[in-house]
């Protein structure tokens, strides 16, 4: 779900960056306010690497296997560090694997990062119920990732389809949007379930990794 270079007009790329800068600034501002950033930088960096690696896990979905996006889980674990983490992850993917692109970094960061922040707030919302429950962690883990992927897919598809040079006619465009979006529904469930399992696992093994209110 990364938009490569060359496909979007310069104005959209610029808009992507224009939206990325304030969100990144807001995140960094929150991080600075949240205490000694020195303490959290190693944590966020290593977890960024860990997410990058975790997305290499093959999830078998017969007849093929998929890789997960994990931006919902990333929001749940990293909180305000999620956006910078995604920015860095996307940068590495673009530079190392030519996956995504440099001009589209801003757009992709919005596609991935904005939903990640949202999932952080969704998961945190679960804390108003009972903090010490596997069910709450699982349910809100699921919801967070489910919504994050849903939102990511929506932004991705709309940005991509509406910016094809030459343009589609209206019916093709609508059909393309629906097809692409529907094709991602199974992914929403898989990501949701995966995140739910991981949230329960973390609650048991290392609860410090789950964001607290």
């Amino acid at each position: 779900m990364h938009i490569p270079d060359g496909i979007l007009p310069a104005s959209v790329c610029a808009a992507g960056y224009a939206a990325t800068v304030p969100i990144a600034w807001y995140s960094i501002h929150k991080i600075r306010k949240g205490g000694d950033p020195r303490e959290n930088i190693p944590k966020a960096s290593l977890l960024t690497a860990a997410f990058f690696v975790a997305s290499w896990i093959h999830i078998p979905v017969p007849p093929t296997s998929v890789h997960l996006v994990l931006n919902g889980l990333l929001g749940v674990v990293l909180g305000h560090f999620a956006f910078p983490a995604i920015l860095i992850g996307l940068f590495f993917q673009a530079v190392m694997f030519q996956h995504g692109g440099l001009t589209t970094l801003g757009v992709n960061a919005i596609v991935m990062g904005f939903p990640a922040l949202l999932s952080y707030y969704i998961f945190r919302f679960g804390n108003i119920f009972r903090k010490d429950s596997n069910i709450i962690a699982g349910v809100f883990g699921f919801l967070a990732a489910f919504c994050a992927i849903g939102l990511s897919v929506s932004i991705f598809v709309v940005v991509l389809i509406t910016n094809i040079p030459g343009g589609f006619d209206v019916s093709t465009e609508r059909a393309a949007i629906y097809t692409l979006a529907l094709a991602h529904v199974p992914l929403m469930f898989i990501e949701g379930a995966f995140t739910a399992f991981v949230a329960v696992f973390l609650r048991r093994v290392q609860p410090k990794l789950l964001v607290r209110a």
Partner: protein
């Protein structure tokens, strides 16, 4: 795991010698100018500039081809779909499919822009050690939180990649077949992912201690890391002019 972009940093081309800060600004400007181009007539110039940069950089062609492996799927999809789906003017009909002019133009535009930007990106990041490039970003006043995170992430990426590899090996040894899907198997993969996170987190606590002990966040003495010569500045000027040329050309034509 090998990422292999420090493979060609010793070729010693003029692009290798260019001050990383100026190279970063210049080539990024060029990349954005390319993405601005929307007129077919600018494409030949784009190909010429891109080829020239790649030739000057002395990077082997084989390197570029290996780097194209992943994105070529995307390119293929564009080439196969767009000419039939996008636009109104039908050039030709192949059975039930209509080949459309707008779609063809779009394919040409997208493919050229895509390949040119990718190539310049390769030149930018393969003609200096990756670390130097990140330090150059810090010297250009990117927030320290971002550059520090990038450096640390880079350092531990391979290491954590090895965790995954070894853990998958041990799971396979105990008979875990990843090809069949089951809820239980899915949950175990989630545990695998969770373990990666936990191990990384626990390591990060020690890394933090090690950083504090060696004075992380004390005096930052990065000044004087890079020194630019007149040639560097001149090269930047020239590149910026070329980039401006593309933007102006696209607007004027």
């Amino acid at each position: 795991m090998r990422f292999g972009f420090d493979e060609y940093i010793h070729l010693g081309s003029p692009l290798h010698r260019w001050d990383p800060r100026y190279k970063l600004i210049g080539l990024l400007a060029l990349i954005f100018a390319f993405s601005f181009v929307s007129d077919l007539r600018m494409l030949p110039a784009m190909v010429v500039v891109t080829s020239a940069a790649y030739i000057i950089s002395k990077l082997p062609v084989s390197f570029m081809l290996t780097r194209l492996r992943y994105p070529s799927f995307f390119l293929l999809a564009v080439v196969l779909l767009l000419p039939f789906l996008s636009g109104e003017t039908i050039v030709m009909s192949i059975g039930p499919l209509d080949l459309r002019q707008e779609g063809l133009v779009a394919v040409l535009l997208i493919a050229t822009r895509f390949l040119s930007i990718l190539t310049i990106g390769l030149v930018l990041f393969s003609t200096a050690p990756f670390l130097t490039t990140i330090k150059a970003m810090r010297a250009l006043h990117l927030p320290a939180i971002l550059t520090d995170m990038a450096l640390l992430t880079f350092r531990y990426l391979q290491e954590i990649g090895d965790y995954l590899h070894r853990m998958e090996t041990s799971m396979r040894l105990r008979g875990f077949g990843e090809r069949r899907f089951s809820i239980q198997g899915f949950r175990i993969l989630a545990w695998l992912g969770g373990s990666i996170l936990v191990r990384s987190y626990e390591r990060s606590e020690w890394v933090y201690k090690a950083m504090i002990l060696r004075g992380y966040g004390q005096a930052e003495s990065l000044k004087g890391e890079f020194q630019a010569s007149y040639t560097d500045v001149f090269a930047l000027g020239a590149t910026l002019l070329i980039a401006a040329g593309f933007v102006a050309g696209d607007i004027l034509i």
